[in-house]
């Protein structure tokens, strides 16, 4: 029966596709507009350099090494580093000349090499900017993850490194050589993990590669947020079909055919998920193609979208059941979706919101789980997050579907009308 209901709805959608097409076209247009206004200055949808002020209060060999690492290679493509005193760095934030200030506190190297529990950077984000500070924050998360990895693997050698670094006068070259050799041996043992064998080929099109975009693409950061919101609208449009069925009395006719309400609700949820999957395909693949985003983890992304589709459908079915009339739903659903999108980080990164919302409210939002999961997958820092998020979304979605079906059954038995 579910199959019949789904085929019927897909046939109807095929013959009247405009509401769905509109919901699919909008996010692409809006992503493009936002990206063009706030984002890239370089070709191919890539972003321009982010201006980052660095205040090195530690002023040690190690902090110099960190500064150097951020100021060369790939990082230099995206970061315009300015090494300043704290006051002038903060003044530049006030003047909106930098996106963030990274403060390496005094004693950072000591704390790090002594395996202290509390080793901290301080990152001051420019509140006048939305996306660049968030990207810097993501970047610093990667740096922290790398430092943690180094700490875990080389912890045993840290006291000796500290001794060498703290030694007054001429460096102990023998000690440095010994430690370096030991470090080399460790790297040798990790060789298989660090440098796995690669098979590949290289095309002789280097001149074109310069134009083909860069690894970090601001649209790849924006699109999941907007997609989260428009997936909710897509789900709303599909689930809202329940009202049309009630208004047209086809729902009543269905109920006179020895069927309960759950299959009808489920069919709308399946329809919604089908539309969400198709829509997400267009949004993420089409968006990827248009904005030259290279999605890093397509399979986990797809699973996360599936789970979010279930949540979105269940959530919209619940709203439909609570609203009890199409007219009320017209008003309520849009407001609720926009509000949820605001809290989940569709418009601004959630980390830019006031502290109470950011720390206590946003993390409770299912769309936040989805958005952060997708961004984590894209930035490469979210392996655990996406699986947990997908599981939570799927469970919440399934529960919402059951609750919605029960509410619908009750209100229809009482004679509710669309």
């Amino acid at each position: 029966m579910l199959w019949n209901l789904l085929i019927k709805d897909l046939n109807r959608a095929r013959r009247n596709p405009w509401p769905y097409l509109l919901n699919l076209a909008l996010p692409l247009c809006i992503t493009g507009l936002i990206g063009l206004v706030f984002g890239p200055s370089s070709k191919g949808g890539g972003m321009g350099q982010i201006k980052l002020a660095v205040v090195d209060e530690d002023d040690s060999v190690f902090s110099s090494f960190l500064r150097g690492a951020m100021n060369q290679g790939e990082a230099k493509k995206y970061l315009d580093l300015r090494f300043l005193e704290k006051e002038s760095a903060l003044a530049q934030i006030n003047d909106n000349k930098v996106s963030a200030v990274l403060i390496i506190p005094a004693g950072f190297t000591q704390s790090y090499l002594r395996n202290s529990d509390a080793v901290e950077f301080e990152l001051v984000k420019n509140p006048a900017q939305s996306f660049y500070p968030a990207i810097v924050e993501e970047f610093m998360r990667v740096v922290v993850a790398a430092l943690n990895a180094v700490s875990r693997n080389l912890r045993g050698d840290f006291p000796e490194w500290l001794e060498v670094l703290e030694k007054e006068g001429r460096p102990d070259v023998r000690a440095i050589a010994r430690l370096t050799e030991r470090l080399g041996e460790k790297f040798d043992r990790l060789d298989g993990f660090l440098f796995p064998p690669l098979v590949g080929y290289e095309k002789e099109t280097r001149s074109k590669e310069k134009d083909s975009g860069v690894a970090v693409n601001i649209f790849g950061y924006l699109l999941p947020g907007l997609a989260a919101m428009f997936i909710l609208f897509l789900a709303d449009n599909s689930v809202r079909d329940l009202y049309r069925e009630i208004r047209l009395k086809t729902f009543d006719r269905f109920r006179t055919l020895h069927h309960r309400v759950l299959p009808m609700i489920s069919s709308k949820v399946v329809l919604s998920m089908t539309v969400v999957i198709l829509g997400s395909g267009i949004l993420f693949l089409g968006g990827g193609w248009i904005f030259r985003i290279q999605w890093n983890r397509p399979m986990p992304m797809a699973l996360l979208i599936l789970a979010y589709g279930l949540f979105a459908s269940g959530f919209m079915a619940l709203l439909a059941a609570l609203a009890r009339s199409e007219r009320r739903a017209d008003v309520l659903n849009s407001v609720i979706v926009l509000f949820l999108s605001f809290l989940g980080g569709s418009f601004f990164p959630a980390r830019q919101l006031p502290a109470f919302l950011r720390d206590h409210v946003c993390p409770m939002m299912p769309n936040y789980w989805f958005i952060e999961g997708q961004r984590g997958l894209q930035s490469g820092s979210g392996d655990v997050l996406w699986t947990v998020s997908a599981l939570k979304l799927a469970i919440v979605g399934a529960v919402l579907v059951l609750v919605a079906a029960t509410l619908f059954q009750r209100s229809l038995a009482k004679g509710a009308r669309a």
Partner: protein, 311 residues
């Protein structure tokens, strides 16, 4: 013979509004029972309770001898329901609608395809089967609306005002089709607010108003309530006239309706019409015209409720 549908003491209230109150009737196989009443009389609520869309506050519905609510699925398999609204998917074709509802009613795919063809033929819509329903005329939509309820060959058909809003020719086609269904043995509960439909189509008629079944019976039985075949309609200046003051009038006649310009009365006894007419012309009022006619359902309704069905 056991009734296919038996309704006893059916009641339903929405808040303070008593939509249906103590409605009783039965329906036999091959019979058309008309539930006649104005809009808001409780016809649709009654059908909704019989079909399981609404749970009655009190009373019982028995379908084919078994209580509906003890096994709703069994009862619903026996019945087909045609809602008052056109409950179709306008984007789909007539055939697709029929097949879809047939599948949901439990038919296999091939069976639904075959049955859809039969129903389309019976409804004279075979040549438009592939057109989207949105391109159909009102009458064609109404026919498909009925057809969807017939896919699983129900023994009991509930038709809720199936001819609302269509032209006379289309209405005639539907009435003929309903008669054929009845001739094939289907029991039909037919709600309407059109007097002519109830008079010409239904074997028995129940008159419902404000949720109460005021009277029921065959057309002849209902007419007899007004004194057989004789109904006199007097037209003239009746403003200020008081029948209570007229000698022996109320012993001889029953007032069906009185307005400033019209008085409808039925004779209490089977006196000859000429005698009745003489009595009426002797009344102390200025009569401009007198009509003798057979009572219609509207007159019955008028007598029962004090107002016209079309008011």
């Amino acid at each position: 013979m056991m009734a296919l549908l038996q309704v006893n003491g059916l009641c339903k209230a929405f808040g303070d509004v008593r939509a249906v109150e103590q409605v009783d009737f039965t329906l036999q196989q091959g019979e058309i029972y008309g539930l006649l009443g104005p809009n808001g009389a409780g016809k649709t609520t009654t059908i909704s309770m019989i079909s399981g869309l609404l749970r009655p506050d009190a009373g019982k519905v028995a379908v084919d001898g078994a209580d509906f609510w003890s096994d709703p699925a069994r009862a619903q398999r026996i019945m087909g329901v045609v809602p008052q609204e056109i409950a179709l998917y306008e984007e789909l074709s007539g055939r697709e609608n029929l097949e879809f509802w047939g599948r949901l009613a439990g038919l296999a795919a091939a069976e639904a395809r075959g049955r859809a063809g039969e129903v389309l033929e019976a409804l004279s819509l075979a040549d438009r089967a592939k057109d989207p329903v949105k391109n159909y005329s009102g009458g064609m939509k109404r026919r498909i609306n009925i057809g969807c309820a017939l896919m699983h060959r129900p023994k009991l058909l509930l038709l809720d005002e199936p001819t609302v809003g269509i032209d006379p020719q289309a209405r005639l086609n539907i009435l003929e089709f309903v008669k054929k269904l009845c001739a094939d043995g289907t029991a039909i509960l037919y709600t309407t607010h059109y007097l002519e439909e109830a008079e010409t189509l239904c074997h028995r008629i129940g008159i419902i108003d404000h949720g109460r079944l005021l009277a029921e019976g065959t057309l002849a039985e209902l007419q007899r309530r007004l004194g057989g075949d004789q109904l006199f309609v007097l037209e003239g200046e009746l403003k200020g006239a008081n029948p209570d003051d007229w000698p022996q009038f109320l012993e001889r006649f029953r007032i069906i309706q009185k307005s400033d310009h019209q008085l409808s009365v039925a004779a209490h006894t089977n006196r000859h019409p000429s005698e009745c007419l003489k009595d009426l012309l002797d009344l102390p009022i200025r009569v401009e015209n007198v009509t003798l006619k057979r009572p219609s359902l509207n007159d019955v309704f008028l007598q029962l409720t004090g107002r016209q069905l079309r008011e």
